[in-house]
Amino acid sequence: MARELYSLTIHELSALLLARTVSAVEALESVISRIEAVDGRVHAYISPTFDFARSQAQAADQRIARGDGGPLTGVPLAIKDILCTEGIRTTCGSRILENFVPPYDATVIGKLKAGGAVFTGKTSMDEFAMGSSNETAYFGAVHNPWDLDRVPGGSSGGSAAAVAADECIAALGTDTGGSIRQPASLCGVVGLKPTYGRVSRFGLIAFASSLDQIGPITKDVEDAAILLSCISGHDSKDSTSIKRHAPDYTRALKKDVNGLRLGIPKEYFIEGLDPQVEKAVREAIDLLKAQGAEIVPVSLPHTEYAVAVYYLIAPAEACSNLARYDGVKYGYRCSQPGNLREMYEQSRSEGFGPEVKRRIMLGTYALSAGYYDAYYKKASQVRTLIRRDFMEAFKTCDLIVTPTAPAPAFKLGEKLSDPLSMYLSDIFTIPTNLAGLPGISLPCGFSEGGLPIGLQIIGNLFAEEQVLHCAYCYEQSTPWHRRKPSLA
C-alpha cells in the first residue's frame, strides 16, 4: 500500500510535488484529514487555518506548474503560536492574547510564504513559552502521541506532537531553554535550535530576548536542513541577527563521520539520569565511534549552575518583555477598571496564568533594588563561565554529544504542582542557550514502555553544518526516525 501523503517528509513530498505526481491541494487534504482524525486526542493545534491553507496550496500548484517551485512549495507546515502571522490569530498560548490578530508577519513567516509553504495552523504551546510540558497552555494541554496520558514536552509541545502524529509535514518551534529540543526528544522527532542570531527573531513574541531562537521540528535530519536553509539569514529588523552568509545546509549531509571528534561531558551523565536514557545515548556514541568518530572526554564544570542561571536571567528578561501587556494597545483588558493603575493590574492578573506570573515575580525580584547584584549580576557572571567551559571544550572536540532530556515523557500532571522539578527537565538543554550554541535532538531509541529517547548534538557557534552532518550520519544507520506512534 502506498504511504499516505501526510506521513511523508518534506523531501519525499517535495519530490512528488515538483514531479507533479501529486498536487499541493491533494497533499494538504491528506494532512487535513489526518488532523481531523487524530487531533481530538492529541490537541496539537490551537487554531487550524484550513481555508487559508487551501488558498496557499492552490497558489503553490500554479507556481509549480510555472516551473517555479522550490523545496518547500506546497508543503504543509504547522507554526508555533508564538510567531506573528498577518491576519491570523496569534495567542502565544495565553488568555491575554486570546484575540490578538497581528498586522504583520514574522520574518520567518515571510520567508516560508516566499518559498511557497502552506500553513495548516498555529500549534499549542506553554503560555508565553514558559514551561516544559505544554501544560501551562491557556487553551489546554497537548497529549503525547506515543502515550496520550503523557506530556509532549514544552514549550513547543504542539509543534512536536503535530510532527510526531503526522498532523503536518514539519513545523516551526522556538527554543529559549530547550523548547524545541526537549519536546522533540519526548515526541521522537528531530528538533534543531540554531546559533543565537542565525534566524531573525522579528515577529517572534519575546520571552527572553538574549536566549530565544526559532528553529525546525521535523521527521528527519534532511528536513531540518531544508527548513533551516529557508529561515536563516541576516535581517535588519532584528538588531541581534548576525551578518553572516547562510549556506544551503542540505550540502552538509554527508554519510561519513571519519575523524570527527565528539566530546562527551561527564557532567551530563549524572545521578538522576534515567538508566534507559543513558543506555540509549551510550549506544549511540558507540555507533558513531564504530563509524569512525573519535571520542574525547571533556568537562563542562559549571553545568550544575546552569538551571539557576537560566531561571534568574530568563525571568528577568521576561518580566521586562511582558511589561508591554497593559491592556492599552492590544490584548486583554479587564472590564470597567476604576483608574489606569487598576486597569494595568487587573488586566495582567486576569490575563496571565500562574507560571507566567511566577516568572514575572521571580524576574522582578531578581532585578529589584538590593537584590540585583546577588541574583541577576551573579547569574550573568556565571553565564560567562558556562560560555567559557564550552569554548574550552571545543579546543579538543568538534561536537558535544549528550542526552537531550534526563528522562522520557512524564505523565500529565506529574510535575505541575512542583515548579522546581519541572525546571530540571531542561537541565541538559539550558546550557546551550546560555552559550548561544546550536543543538539538535534526534531519536536514538525507545524505553521499555515504548517512549522515545533523544540524543543531543551540540556544536560551536555557527557550526550547524557539522551538527547536521553528524546527526545525519547517525540517523541514516539507525531505524528510530522511521518508527511511528500507533495513536491507539
Binding site: 493603575r341 514575572i360 515548579p419
Partner: protein
Amino acid sequence: MKITIKDVAHVAALARLQFKEDELEAMTAQLNGILDSFDKLQTVDTTGVEPSTHAVDVSNAFRDDRVRPSLTPEAALANAPEAEEGCFKVPRIIEV
C-alpha cells in the same frame, strides 16, 4: 526564608500584578523554594568575571535613517481594546 510575604506584595506592586491573600502565601513559599535552590550560585568565585548579557558578541546595529513603509494608523489601532479618534483610549489619568 529569603523573602517575606511583605516583600512578595511589594514585588507584585512593582510588576503590576494583584494576588489574593492565599495566592500571596503560596507565591512566597514557591519563590523561597526556588531561591533557596539557587543558593549554590553564591559559592561560585566570579571575581573579575565580566557578566554576559548576550551569548554572541554583537555591537550596535545601525541602519540608514530612511522613511520605510510602516503600519497604517488603522492597522496599529485594530487590536486596541478601546480606541477613539485615532488614539488608544484609557481610563481618566488626571483626577479633577
